[in-house]
Symmetry: C2
Subunit: 151 residues, 2 copies
């Protein structure tokens, strides 16, 4: 899985958009089995004072209402390993594959996804890591809030 993948590039664009808005720089993009983007978005904790609009949940929300079949064979691209809530959302909608930008910053529900038969790939993107390293350096309390205090 390369960083040139369109779905990953869209997720990274969303993360950068979040950073430019002063938000937590995590982005995501949901792509269907034919490669069409269903929805994309980024963490809105700071921009909208939201406790549930993470990158992944924003992408699902922006995809709008879809029949269950629309998610079949889909891929959720996300610049950071998905938290328990976003992991659950991918399982709920039976996303087939989750491509993460990195999991150095935070290790989410990767094992839980795999136990549910969802493929997990890691781009190991330095760029994604640096986006988060900078944010956490500058806003440690916002990050701690976003992951419910962490493990």
């Amino acid at each position: 899985m390369s960083a040139n993948d369109p779905g990953f590039k869209a997720a990274l664009e969303e993360a950068k958009a979040g950073a430019s808005e002063g938000g937590i720089p995590i982005g995501a993009c949901l792509v269907d089995k034919d490669g069409k983007i269903l929805g994309r978005g980024h963490n809105m904790r700071i921009q909208k004072s939201s406790a549930i609009l993470h990158g992944e949940t924003s992408a699902l929300e922006n995809a709008g209402r879809l029949p269950a079949s629309a998610y079949a064979g889909s891929t959720m691209y996300t610049t950071l390993s998905p938290c328990d809530m976003c992991t659950g959302a991918c399982i709920l909608y039976k996303v087939s594959r989750v491509v993460i930008g990195e999991n150095k910053t935070f290790v989410g529900g990767e094992e839980h996804l795999q136990r549910k038969g969802i493929e997990v790939l890691n781009v190991e993107s330095k760029e994604c890591e640096e986006l988060m390293a900078r944010f956490i350096r500058e806003h440690p309390e916002d990050w701690d809030e976003d992951i419910g205090g962490g493990k």
Copy 2:
């Protein structure tokens, strides 16, 4: 756990509010360790064309941004056994207890919650069951969509 519990009554009020708006009649209420309501809400799939505003996630969103400590010892009351996404959200924010109205309509992540050390109680409310039975009879496809096609 009785149906007279204030947190449960608030969740049921929210479910009825959802029903009166023509929505999926599932409501939730997040109560802190001291019994104060942090947030309450109901499923907004139909009202807002939302793929992520379930009862539980609406209650979390309506509670607004809170430090991780605010959720310690909290209880999520929800009129229906929580789906994978809402189960993950309760785990992310380290909710201590989940009180469900019923799980005849749908069995969600109760075991996963318990594996994570979260207490799960079931009110076994006929009223909650009937709210859902009526909705599913009238709108089976909306319900199927809300649970990503089900198990």
